[in-house]
Structure formats: structure tokens, C-alpha cells
Amino acid sequence: MSDFNVLTHNLIPEHHLMSEDEAQQMLSELNITRDQLPKIRKGDACIKVLERIHGPIEEGRIIRIVRKSDTAESFEVYRLVIKDVKR
């Protein structure tokens, strides 16, 4: 594997690992539980990059993604890390 960082690609939006405090705050702001969030698999290329920075990311952590949006310029979405399935 080359050490190419997918996050630097212009088509990949920013991914940030949320701390537990931030995650809790976000969940209570939106008044939702973890299981209602959209998912991201642990084997996702972006998670692998984040793991190089933060060390292993266990399931149940939340990733904040900042996207460019046509309608709102920039927009945040949150994704819950779930178990990877080997294909």
C-alpha cells in the first residue's frame, strides 16, 4: 500500500473523528440516539486514514463529515462507525 491519503482528494469531503463529549452534545442537540444515525463501515478508506492519526477507532464512535453543498455552501453530517464486513 502506498501512503496515499484519500482525504486529500478533491472529491472526498472532510472527515473528523468526534470526541465523546462532542458526540454527546451533538446527539442531545438533535435529540436522537446513536442507532438513528447514518452509518460508515470501519473498513472505509477514510476511517483507515483517521486511524493513522487517532489510533484505532472502535465501533460506536461518530465521524463528522463536512461537505460542500450546492444549496447550503457547507454542510455537516454525522456517521456512526459500524463493524466492517469482509467481502
Binding site: 438533535l30 435529540n31 436522537i32 440516539t33 446513536r34 442507532d35 438513528q36 444515525l37 447514518p38 452509518k39 465501533e59 460506536g60 453543498s69 444549496t71 447550503a72 454542510f75 455537516e76 453530517v77 454525522y78 456512526l80 459500524i82 463493524k83 464486513v85 469482509k86 467481502r87
Partner: protein, 926 residues
């Protein structure tokens, strides 16, 4: 009518049925393949056994004792002589065989691996996964297990399992009989199943190999008696007969100790029949056929696809209280109305609950009978049925009307005829968006077509060349209230597809407003009265007196229907986009200015009131509400029709007449171009054509030629256009946006131009040439599809052929596009149908998981957006600053060519090519 809920379904669980359960629920065992005896009575223990339910009226069910419609039907069963594989389960069976040990039957996973897999399954629930995640987990576990070469429990080496489609399993080349498969599956212990995604309580693997076959009740497969008195059996019965016959032979042969080969052949035949009984379209085996050669319709075929049970009988049903007929236009109707013929109104009914308040009225109505006479030439509603408090329906006739009228009391329901102002739903297929079905109020009128205001054509995509539409009468007050608030036509003037009006003036209405307002013409008193009849307008201003006669200007007339404080500034469709806009001094009268509800100057055309583009319409709907917008549109239609009738308007082929010198000019220009093309071709042959970067020499030539010919066509159009002024009807229509374009006109008057297929000049047909009229390898303009003539001058035979080639591509494209986009839309809707915008602004599905945190990321309702933007800054500016703002805002230059324009163009090409009666059927996609 209302029924109380006596039981509520808490949950539904689907499970695999066990042979035990099949036998337990069976009303009788079926052993003989015969159905009826010589006297026509069903044979006991046959496929039509009376224990399986009743289909003949008068008889009683031998199992439950009920009569025809009361007995639900009962299952029977067939005991299979030898086990057979269930076709629907082969994939699961393969998975199970691969991931379990061939000798001890245990899952090919160590204890730790199995525990880990189970744990992963449990975790799915906590993190909000659904059945898809479970399936992925199970699949991953099975894949892991099947890779093992030795059993971790008994050490047995494992063989490779292959599946010979559709139902034969092989292990290392040697065939596994269904019996062996079943024995293997029986060995799998219950506790090894959860990691594979199987719940042993609801599904034991050996149940997937059938030993007993459930026989559906006769009510599921009724036999029909033909006129000749012959019985004709259902396809399923035929198939069961086959199964029973082979089952019987197999049992006899096996019990008689017949050779292994014969038994195996019969066994395979039984497998075939059971397989086709479930699914007669299994790939790899020939479908079972009826005597006539028609393939049998068995269980899977009953359920699957567009004509299957789900899509045809459960998701969609035939309904009562509906009507369908041809549509035609009526500009005197409001956009909210629909004209319904008397005949339809007499059939369609509305239930009215009798109360002390309305009992007298309803008594009178019942006295009218079911086909009342016209009173003073007016339609009078009658009553078809009365439903009494005990639920009995009584048909009203002339004989019993008096009696029933007297006995009418509160609590009864009267089904009265449709009358004016009833709320109905009106729909035209294909129902591609929500505006395809809108609520109208009824106007009962003579003649036999449904009629509506022309402004409502664009949302339905309707025209009057024979289109038919459907009408549904609402049956409850709740439905009426809901339809009136949510579905009424006036609530759909703004389209959610682009933030603009989809309902608006078209064709003649635009021409009408143009004639009314362009250069502010004067109208005599007589004309003014003609135009304003039936219009609810503001008071007429003082007339201009010229030579002692009273005149009013077109601008003044149009201003009468505008809201009193309307203020707008924009450029009309006829605007030529001059390099510097002269604004108020525009000699084309294309600069529209409305101040204090008075049209000060400018022409009202497509940009003003047209559907998709109408700016005045847009502003009124946004700022004054849908009620005002409706009123405005109703008035515009009437006024436009009035104006066009007063002024008179016609078009014909002589509108494209141009002077002889213009024709000569065009011919010169075209000859020049053709000469240039032959020069280019010569240069190409001599090798002195300069190659363009990134292109081959051939491509360079094509590009250059296309450029020259394209320019020639434009030039011809311009020369023709110079002689077609705004006094020309065809030009008025094209410029004002009513119908047609300047390109259409230049093709009629000037030159049609280069024909193309796939964006290239025509090249196919004969060897190295398009037609035998040309030399091989001729690259000149005429030889490759340049049409020099105009539609008016007429085409030469070769040109005509080329034109047909180009035209065909258009037809094929639309045909392909509509069917493909229809299927795409179906899939898109299937994916999005359960999404819902919640109160907190999130978009969620039915499982309450979040799809989008903020609707559309900006939380803007596209219906209320201004072509997609939340705020129209220019509009706000001009509201605050007044005339000063006009200096700041660049009127008409901001995104004029938006999404709407593109859509409209698309729609127009579609309808021109008369591809409306296309079948949108894409068949089984499930």
C-alpha cells in the same frame, strides 16, 4: 360504513413451514390424481376433495360447514414418496452444505469464531442496523466457514460443494440426492444455526427439502365451467395432477423394487414437477406447458412482476366512483374547475349523511328520482341509492321515491348525484409528479367531455388531440377537506421542480396578452366591453377622447386585473438583448414596468404570464397568495381570449413568404458555403488542410465543414428573418413565446440545414456513400446530408431521404428516453417512498433513522424557493429602495435561462414528436 377495530396486528413473522405443520394443518391427504368422477362429483382424497373448501354455491364445506363465501378454504397435503429440493431455497441450502461438516454436521467454525459471529449479530441491533446488515453478517460468516478444509470439531477433510442449476448438488463430482442432503441438514445442531442468520425455532434447515407438499384450497385454484358444460381446471390444479401422478408411479416402482435407474429417473421427474409447481420460469429447465403450448402460470408467476398479485392487486386496485373520458378546453372555467358531462354526473354519487338540518332538502332530492328532468333548462341532481340505518341499500326508482322520501330520517345516508362545487380528483397518466393529480370543483355541463381551463394543461402535460383523463369523486368530508387544502389546483401553481409557476398562460393566451398590450393599442368602447365581459376587475379609468370617441389603452385594460399595489420591472420575451438596454426608451416595448398596480409600459407575453416563466404570475402567487393568483389567471385567460378575438389573429404558410431578392441572397449564401466545403474537401485530398490539435485530419475536415454549413444555415435564417417583422403572425408567436421559434421559421423560409445522426454528418447507407446518387467517397455538402431547400420551397428526393434519416433518430431517442426514464423513476420512487420530513427539519425513514439532518441541507422548500434560492435579493431590494433599486439590480440579466426554460424546451420537443401514447411498461423489475 365505519367499522371499529376489533383486533390490532402487533407483529408479523415469516417462517419456513415444517412438514409436520403441513400435515397438521391439512384437512385431507390427497392421493389420487383424479378430480371428478363420472357423475361430476369431486372424488374423496382427490384434488377437488370437498374438505378443501367449496366453490359451488349451495354446497357446504365438509371441514367447516360454511357456505361459499363464508368458508375460507382449507389446505390439504401430498406425502411425497421421496424428498425433493425446494427451488426457492437452493441458495440457502448451498450455503448450509458448504459451511457445515460433511460427517458430524457441525458448523465449520471454532467455538471462538462462532461466538464472535454471534456477538457481531447482536451488536447490529444496538447500532441500529436492519435486515440487510444481518444478511451481510450471515453471508460473511458462511463464507468464512466454507473456506475451511478440515472440520475443527472432528477433523474430517471437507469436499467442495457445487450447485448444478437449478436443483442438483454435487460434492467433489459425485451427485448428492435430496435424501442425502436432507440427512446432512438434519445433523446440524440448533446452536450452530444463529451465526448463519437462521433462527432454529422458525426454520430447521431440513425443512427446505420437502417431504410433504401443501395442497392449496380449491378457492385458490377454482375450476371454471365453460359454456359447453366442460370443466376447465386452474393451472395449479394441472400441476398438482402431474405431481401426484409421478409421485404415485415413483412409490409403486420403489416399493416393487424396480431397478435403481428407473427410480432415479422418476425421482428426477418428480423434482421437475415440484420445481415448476413453485416457479415455472426457473432458468435451466424448460417451462411446463399447457396442452395448447401456453406455459403454465404457477405460484411464483402469480405473485411476481407488474401483473402479479402485489403490484396489480394489493398496491393497486380498481375503484368505484371514477370516470374517464376525452378532455377538451374551456377558457370560461376557472382553473379550479372541471366540467363534467350530465351522463357522468348521474352515475357518480356523493354520500350525504342525513341530519335534522338537511333532511328536508334530501327528501326533495329523493323525490327527483334517479334521472330528474331538467328544470328551467338547468341540471337537477337526483338520488341513486339510500342506505338505511340497518345498512340496507335501496335503489331509488320513480315508483318508490315518494315512499322512501317520507321514511327518510337522520342516520340514513343518501347517495346523491354529483352537482356543482363538489370536490373531485382529476388525473392524467403518466402520473409523474404530484401535479398529475389535483383537486377540482365540479361544474356539471352538457356534452360528453371533461373540460378545464387551458392554464392547467402544463402540469398534466395534456393537450386535446384525443387525450383522456380520469376523475374520482371523494366520498368523505375528511377526504374533501384534505383535498381542498392540499391538492386544489390553485395550491399547485408553483412547481416544486423549480421555484416557479407551472400553471400559467399558454399558446393563444400569450398571443392574446401580446396583442392587448404591445405598443399600448387603443380599444373602442364596444371592444372594451367585449374584452371585459365576465371579468371581475377594478373600476375602468377615464377614457381618452379622440375625435369625440372614447378609447382605452391596452395597458389600462390589463392593469384592471392587477393587484392595486403591484410593483414590477422586468424584460419581456420579445426583448432582443441589446448590448446596452435602453430601458424605458425601448422601441420594441420590451421593458415592462408596473407601478402601483398600473402597467406603465411594456408588453405582456410569456415572461409576464406564461407557464414556467411568467414573472407577474410568480410575484402574485408569492406575495398575494394562491387565491389572488387563481383570480388573476382566470381573468388573464378571459381577457386574452377577448383581446385575440377583438384583434383577430391568423397564421398560414404565406407568413413565411419572402421577397425574391431575399431568396436570391439566401441561394448565394448557400452556394458560397457549398463552394467553401468543396474547397475544404479539395484541400483535404491535396493534403494541405491544416490539422487541428488533438484531432485527426478526417475529424478536422468534418469539424470545419460542420462549422461552414452551420454558419450558412444561420445566415440564411438571418436573411429570411430580416424580411419577417413583428407585423407577421408567425413571428409574433415565436417572439412572444406563444408557440414556435425563430429557428422553425428560418427552416420554413430559409434553409433546413445539415441533417445529423449521432452528431455527425450522415455517412451510412451504401458502400462509402450515403445514396447511389453520389460518387463513392464524395465528401461534399450535398452528398452527406446538407438540405439546401426550405420546408416551403420543398425538398429534393435525396434531401427528403436525408431529412427522414435525421428525423428518425429523434423519434428513436424519445422512445428510448421515455421508457428508460420511466423505469428509472420507478426505482427512484421505490427507494424514496417511505421518507418523511419531520417537525425538527430532519428527513427520516419509517424506521426513524436519519437520512438527512436538515432537509435539502438548507431546509428550503423548493416550491417556495425562487428558482432554487431561498431569497430573491433583487426583489427585496426593489421593495425597499423602489426605483433606485433598478439601478442596482440587473433586471432580466440574472439567471434568466434557468432550469425551467430547459424543462419547457424538453417538454415541447416531446409533444411535438407525438410520443405521448407510449407504453411506460418496463415489465418485471422485482
Amino acid at each position: 360504513m365505519m367499522r371499529g377495530v376489533s383486533k390490532r396486528i402487533g407483529s408479523i413473522r415469516f417462517a419456513t413451514i415444517s412438514p409436520d405443520e403441513i400435515r397438521r394443518m391439512s384437512a385431507t391427504k390427497v392421493i389420487t390424481a383424479d378430480t371428478y368422477d363420472d357423475d361430476g362429483f369431486p372424488i374423496d382424497m382427490g384434488l377437488m376433495d370437498p374438505h378443501l373448501g367449496v366453490i359451488e354455491p349451495g354446497l357446504r364445506c365438509k371441514t367447516c360447514g360454511n357456505k361459499v363465501d363464508e368458508c375460507p378454504g382449507h389446505f390439504g397435503h401430498i406425502d411425497l414418496a421421496m424428498p425433493v429440493i425446494h427451488v426457492g431455497m437452493v441458495r440457502e441450502l448451498k450455503k448450509l452444505l458448504e459451511s457445515t461438516c460433511r460427517s458430524c454436521g457441525r458448523l465449520l467454525m471454532t467455538k471462538e469464531e462462532a461466538a464472535e459471529a454471534s456477538e457481531a449479530m447482536d451488536a447490529v441491533d444496538d447500532l441500529g442496523g436492519d435486515y440487510i446488515d444481518y444478511r451481510l453478517m450471515a453471508r460473511a460468516a458462511a463464507r468464512g466457514a466454507s473456506k475451511k478444509e478440515f472440520c475443527p470439531h472432528c477433523g474430517q477433510p471437507q469436499e467442495k460443494i457445487t450447485l448444478d442449476k437449478p436443483t442438483t448438488f454435487r460434492e467433489g463430482g459425485h451427485k448428492l440426492t435430496p435424501k442425502e442432503v436432507r440427512e446432512r441438514l438434519e445433523r446440524i445442531p440448533d446452536e450452530d444455526l444463529p451465526p448463519l442468520g437462521i433462527n432454529p425455532e422458525t426454520c430447521r434447515p431440513e425443512w427446505m427439502v420437502l417431504t410433504a407438499l401443501a395442497v392449496p384450497p380449491v378457492t385458490v385454484r377454482p375450476s371454471i365451467t365453460l359454456e359447453s358444460g366442460d370443466r376447465s381446471e386452474d393451472d395449479l390444479t394441472h400441476k398438482m395432477v402431474d405431481v401426484l401422478r409421478i409421485n404415485q408411479r415413483l412409490r409403486e416402482n420403489r416399493d416393487a423394487g424396480a431397478p435403481q435407474l428407473i427410480v432415479e429417473d422418476l425421482w428426477e421427474l418428480l423434482q421437475y414437477h415440484v420445481t415448476t409447481y413453485f416457479d415455472n420460469q426457473t432458468s435451466g429447465i424448460p417451462p411446463a406447458r399447457h396442452r395448447s403450448g401456453r406455459p403454465l402460470k404457477t405460484l411464483v408467476q402469480r405473485l411476481k412482476g407488474k401483473e402479479g398479485r402485489f403490484r396489480s392487486n394489493l398496491s393497486g386496485k380498481r375503484v368505484n366512483f371514477s370516470a374517464r373520458t376525452v378532455i377538451s378546453p374551456d377558457p370560461t372555467l376557472s382553473i379550479n374547475e372541471v366540467g363534467v358531462p350530465f351522463e357522468a354526473a348521474r352515475e357518480l354519487t356523493v354520500p350525504v349523511h342525513v341530519t335534522p338540518g338537511n333532511v328536508e332538502n334530501l327528501r326533495q332530492m329523493i323525490l327527483n328520482g334517479n334521472t330528474p328532468e331538467f328544470r328551467d333548462g338547468k341540471y337537477v341532481p337526483g338520488v341513486n341509492y339510500v342506505i338505511r340505518t340497518d345498512g340496507r341499500r335501496v335503489r331509488i326508482t320513480d315508483r318508490n321515491s315518494e315512499l322512501i322520501s317520507e321514511s327518510l330520517e337522520p342516520g340514513y345516508v343518501v347517495e346523491r348525484h354529483l352537482m356543482d362545487n363538489d370536490v373531485v380528483l382529476f388525473n392524467r397518466q403518466p402520473s409523474l409528479h404530484r401535479m398529475s393529480m389535483m383537486a377540482h370543483t365540479v361544474r356539471v355541463m352538457p356534452a360528453k367531455t371533461f373540460r378545464f381551463n387551458l392554464c392547467v394543461c402544463p402540469p398534466y402535460n395534456a393537450d386535446f388531440d384525443g387525450d383522456e383523463m380520469n376523475l374520482h369523486v371523494l366520498q368523505s368530508d375528511e377526504a374533501r377537506a384534505e383535498a381542498l387544502i392540499l391538492m386544489r389546483v390553485q395550491e399547485h401553481i408553483m412547481s416544486p421542480r423549480f421555484g416557479g409557476p407551472i400553471i400559467g398562460a399558454i399558446h393563444d393566451h400569450i398571443t392574446g396578452t401580446y396583442l392587448l398590450t404591445h405598443q399600448n393599442p387603443l380599444f373602442t368602447k364596444q371592444q372594451v366591453l367585449d374584452v371585459l365581459t365576465n371579468i371581475n376587475h377594478r373600476p375602468l379609468p377615464e377614457p381618452h377622447i379622440i375625435d369625440g370617441k372614447e378609447y382605452w389603452g391596452g395597458h389600462e385594460l390589463f392593469s384592471l386585473i392587477l393587484p392595486e399595489d403591484l410593483r414590477m420591472t422586468f424584460k419581456a420575451s420579445i426583448c432582443q438583448n441589446c448590448p446596452t438596454c435602453k430601458k424605458e426608451d425601448c422601441e420594441l416595448d420590451a421593458f415592462v414596468k408596473v407601478r402601483h398596480g398600473i402597467l406603465v409600459q411594456g408588453t405582456i407575453d410569456e415572461k409576464g404570464v406564461g407557464s414556467f416563466k411568467g414573472k407577474i404570475l410568480d410575484k402574485i402567487t408569492r406575495d398575494y397568495g394562491s387565491e389572488k393568483a387563481r383570480e388573476f389567471l382566470d381573468n388573464v385567460t378571459k381577457m386574452a381570449i377577448g383581446a385575440i378575438m377583438v384583434k383577430g389573429f391568423t397564421t398560414g404558410i404565406d407568413d413565411e413568404d419572402i421577397p425574391a431578392e431575399a431568396t436570391a441572397q439566401i441561394n448565394d449564401a448557400l452556394s458560397d458555403a457549398i463552394k467553401k466545403v468543396s474547397d475544404l474537401v479539395a484541400a483535404y485530398h491535396e493534403g494541405i488542410l491544416e490539422q487541428m490539435p488533438g484531432r485527426t485530419l478526417d475529424e478536422t475536415l468534418e469539424v470545419e465543414v460542420m462549422k461552414v454549413l452551420g454558419r450558412a444555415r444561420d445566415e440564411a435564417g438571418q436573411i429570411a428573418g430580416r424580411h419577417l417583422g413583428m407585423d407577421n403572425s408567425a413571428v409574433i408567436m415565436a417572439r412572444s413565446g406563444a408557440r414556435g421559434s425563430m429557428l422553425n421559421l428560418s427552416q420554413m423560409a430559409g434553409c433546413i440545414g445539415q441533417q445529423a445522426v449521432r452528431g455527425e454528418r450522415l455517412s451510412r447507407g451504401y458502400w462509402n456513400r450515403t445514396l447511389p446518387h453520389f460518387r463513392k467517397g464524395d465528401l461534399g455538402a450535398e452528398a452527406k446530408g446538407f438540405v439546401k431547400n426550405s420546408y416551403k420551397s420543398g425538398l429534393t428526393p435525396t434531401e427528403f431521404f436525408f431529412h427522414a434519416m435525421g428525423g428518425r433518430e429523434g423519434l428513436v431517442d424519445t422512445a428510448v428516453r421515455t421508457s428508460r426514464s420511466g423505469y428509472m423513476q420507478r426505482r427512484l420512487i421505490s427507494a424514496l417512498e417511505d421518507l418523511k420530513l419531520k417537525q425538527d427539519g430532519t428527513v427520516r425513514n419509517t424506521a426513524d433513522t436519519i437520512i438527512q439532518i436538515h432537509y435539502g441541507e438548507d431546509g428550503i422548500d423548493p416550491t417556495r424557493s425562487v428558482s432554487g434560492d431561498a431569497v430573491d435579493v433583487d426583489d427585496v431590494l426593489s421593495e425597499v429602495l423602489g426605483d433606485e433599486a433598478d439601478l442596482l439590480t440587473r433586471i432580466g440579466e440574472t439567471r434568466q435561462v434557468g432550469y425551467a426554460t430547459v424543462e419547457k424546451d424538453l417538454m415541447e420537443t416531446m409533444e411535438e414528436e407525438e410520443f405521448e401514447e407510449l407504453d411506460y411498461d418496463m415489465g418485471g423489475d422485482d
